[in-house]
């Protein structure tokens, strides 16, 4: 509790780091934003080409089906893979001055989160302009899902950033892991398409319920199933607690390991 209170005291540092990160990312305003947006856009283009033109999969408006899942997934994967070096890259600060080290992964995940919100604005623009439309009732649940995903991403980033201090090559390994993870998550396909004997993979994957919820809200325009929401929330809280415990245990050795 005392540690959380202290973290709250350091809110200015977190917001300062987030602001600095975003400013760096969006330097030159519009062009800067486009640049960070080009990655999901390219992926969207490639997958759409492959799965709705070459290997027709029969999903209606596949590009929207994919887009509403790809943006949240990119937030999650950049958080854990990119955020894994958040502590390591602040070596000079960590070695020389005290502050709660959690500040570093938290600000990384937060700035990625802000980035996702900006990308979601583009998603909304596409939904409205294409005439696909949105359901306001379903949208009420979007913030909950976003917060749950934030917690989940934070939990994993706390772990990855702490472990990377001890194992430097984890940053590269995580790039591969998140790539594989994407295919184990219903991002480019739907859960229904998964054969029954592999459904257990979906159940064990904490990101499944989050992505399913996003898609329910934005693609199917319906309120997500209560079971999906509860499952996602429980997992989100569970992983943020685990991540925090792991980080706390490992952070004592940071200055010496660097």
């Amino acid at each position: 509790m005392k540690a959380l209170r202290e973290l709250y005291d350091y809110r200015e540092m977190i917001s300062g780091l987030v602001r600095r990160d975003l400013r760096g990312r969006y330097k030159g305003s519009v062009l800067g934003f486009l640049w960070t947006f080009i990655n999901p856009l390219l992926q969207l283009l490639v997958y759409t080409m492959v799965f709705s033109v070459i290997m027709k999969n029969g999903i209606e408006k596949y590009y929207i089906f994919l887009f509403v899942a790809l943006v949240p997934w990119m937030f999650f994967s950049t958080s854990i893979a990119g955020g894994s070096t958040s502590v390591l890259h602040s070596e000079s600060m960590v070695k020389k001055i005290y502050f709660p080290r959690e500040v570093l992964p938290i600000s990384y995940v937060t700035s990625s989160f802000v980035n996702m919100i900006l990308c979601l604005l583009v998603v909304f623009a596409v939904l409205i302009i294409s005439g696909f439309g949105v359901s306001l009732k379903a949208l009420l649940f979007l913030p909950i899902v976003m917060i749950v995903e934030y917690l989940l991403a934070l939990g994993f980033t706390l772990m990855s950033s702490a472990l990377t201090v001890y194992f430097r090559d984890l940053a590269y390994i995580l790039n591969i892991v998140t790539m594989a993870w994407q295919y184990l998550t219903p991002v480019i396909y739907s859960v229904d398409q998964v054969p029954d004997e592999f459904k257990w993979v979906m159940q064990w994957n904490p990101m499944t319920s989050v992505i399913v919820a996003y898609r329910d809200i934005l693609y199917y325009k319906q309120v997500p199933h209560m079971s999906t929401l509860i499952m996602a929330t429980v997992l989100g809280i569970f992983f943020v607690v685990i991540g925090y415990i792991v980080f706390r245990a490992l952070q004592k050795g940071f200055a010496e390991e660097m």
Binding site: D9, K96, I97, Y98, F167, E256
Partner: protein, 437 residues
């Protein structure tokens, strides 16, 4: 009293890796490589600091004082033992943490202060104080990369000192910055001290501690050797350091001696002894003119008589060139006569390294006559309490005749090193005391 820092039985070791692999791949494949040595930096230390105290941590390099400071600032954690701290800590270990060169001074104040855990509101409240203290009003909106290193330090220090910490940790880094600002820093720290801020200062300068602190802890090789009033601890520490310096110099001298001995053996020359009649003053004058003696050389003379060896001994009769102020100093001049004269004058003197005379004396000045009696012998010179202050001095040794004609003259026979506990300025220690009424 109110204990603000309580350090109990704290030990800390560092792992020194032979060849460290900090990749998963390396750890998995070459686990044998991860051999390391444990180096214990702190051995079971305990101390307490009361609120409003100024504590100095003193000790030579690598004694563990900086590690202690890092432990107090929670950058690293102890292996065993417990540290309890009440209140906000501001450390001046690393000034300007998180400074970004492209951002303006003002923005950097926000960033830097936020690392100390200040909220935006708290920073806004302190902004005027910080800016005023830094004296950088006109440069505040320029990017920090345009600052000189002095300006940079000033800005950083101004933030750190205005955090309103309960405990201020200061490393000797303060030595940077111009002397005016340094004075300002110290006077600000004194102010804070009277306001009840606890200050911990790490340095290896005893002076700073006795000036600024009321309590001091002397750490040596990870152990607390002394803990008490600053003056007493500093005195003990300085005594120890003087002894250490002495040891070091003696060791170096021993090495030099060994080297010299080897060389001497290589280049030893034999001189034939000429025992023909005693030359008249005229003959000497003539010889002097013919020999074209260059007195700007270090070693010159007619060599009718030769200094074979000059041995310098301390009070214990040990041969040395390293002395403590107040030691007994003894010079033994061993000579060999090549051509006998009626009388010889033996002399010695001290120069500073800049060749300034400090003291010079000879047997003629002291009205001692040394007529020719034998072909070789020894003359001794003794100073019971060597009054020289700390430094390196040149020893002059010479033999002349009664008219001052140089027979064998060394401007600098060797260097003498003096270690002094009297820290007065100059070359000579004069017994003194201060009376304050």
């Amino acid at each position: 009293m109110d204990t603000i820092i309580d350090v109990k039985n704290v030990s800390k070791s560092f792992k020194v890796y032979m060849d460290k692999g900090n990749q998963l791949k390396e750890r998995a494949l070459f686990w044998k490589r991860n051999r390391y040595e444990e180096r214990q930096v702190l051995k079971d230390i305990s101390f307490q600091v009361e609120r409003g105290e100024a504590l100095g941590l003193i000790g030579k390099n690598g004694c563990g004082k900086s590690t202690t400071l890092k432990l107090l600032s929670k950058i690293i954690y102890p292996d065993s033992g417990n540290i309890e701290i009440k209140g906000r800590v501001s450390s001046l270990l690393e000034l300007g943490a998180g400074f970004h060169p492209d951002m303006s001074g003002r923005e950097n104040i926000y960033t830097n202060a936020s690392i100390y855990g200040l909220t935006k509101k708290e920073i806004d409240e302190r902004m005027d104080d910080i800016v005023a203290f830094s004296e950088l009003e006109e440069f505040l909106d320029n990017p920090v990369r345009t600052y000189s290193s002095g300006m940079y330090m000033r800005l950083a220090f101004s933030v750190a000192i205005n955090v309103d910490a309960d405990i201020l940790l200061v490393d000797e880094i303060l030595a940077v910055g111009d002397s005016n600002f340094q004075k300002k820093c110290y006077s600000r720290m004194k102010e804070l001290k009277t306001e009840g801020v606890t200050i911990i200062l790490v340095t290896h300068s005893g002076e700073t501690i006795s000036k600024f602190c009321n309590k001091a802890i002397w750490i040596n090789e990870g152990e607390i050797l002394a803990d008490g009033p600053a003056k007493d601890v500093v005195a003990q520490y300085q005594q120890y350091m003087d002894d250490q310096q002495m040891q070091q110099l003696l060791k170096e001298e021993k090495r030099q001696k060994l080297l010299k001995k080897e060389q001497d053996e290589k280049f030893q020359k034999e001189y034939a002894v000429d025992t023909s009649g005693i030359p008249t003053p005229d003959e000497i004058r003539k010889a002097l003119a013919e020999a074209r003696i260059d007195i700007t050389q270090n070693h010159f003379g007619l060599e009718y008589i030769q200094i074979e060896d000059a041995v310098i001994k301390n009070g214990k009769g040990e041969e040395t060139t390293v002395f403590k102020n107040g030691d007994s100093f003894e010079l033994e001049i061993y000579y060999k006569v090549n051509r006998p004269l009626e009388q010889y004058v033996f002399g010695m003197g001290f120069y500073t390294q800049d060749k300034e005379w400090i003291f010079g004396n000879n047997t003629q000045i002291d009205r001692i006559e040394i007529p020719h009696t034998k072909m070789n012998g020894v003359v001794k010179f003794r100073i019971p309490n060597l009054p020289l202050l700390e430094g390196t001095y040149l020893l002059n040794v010479s033999i002349v005749n009664e008219d001052g004609v140089p027979l064998d003259f060394y401007h600098c026979y060797c260097k003498i090193q003096v270690v002094s506990s009297d820290r007065s300025i100059g070359v000579c220690s004069i017994p003194h005391e201060w009376i304050v009424e």
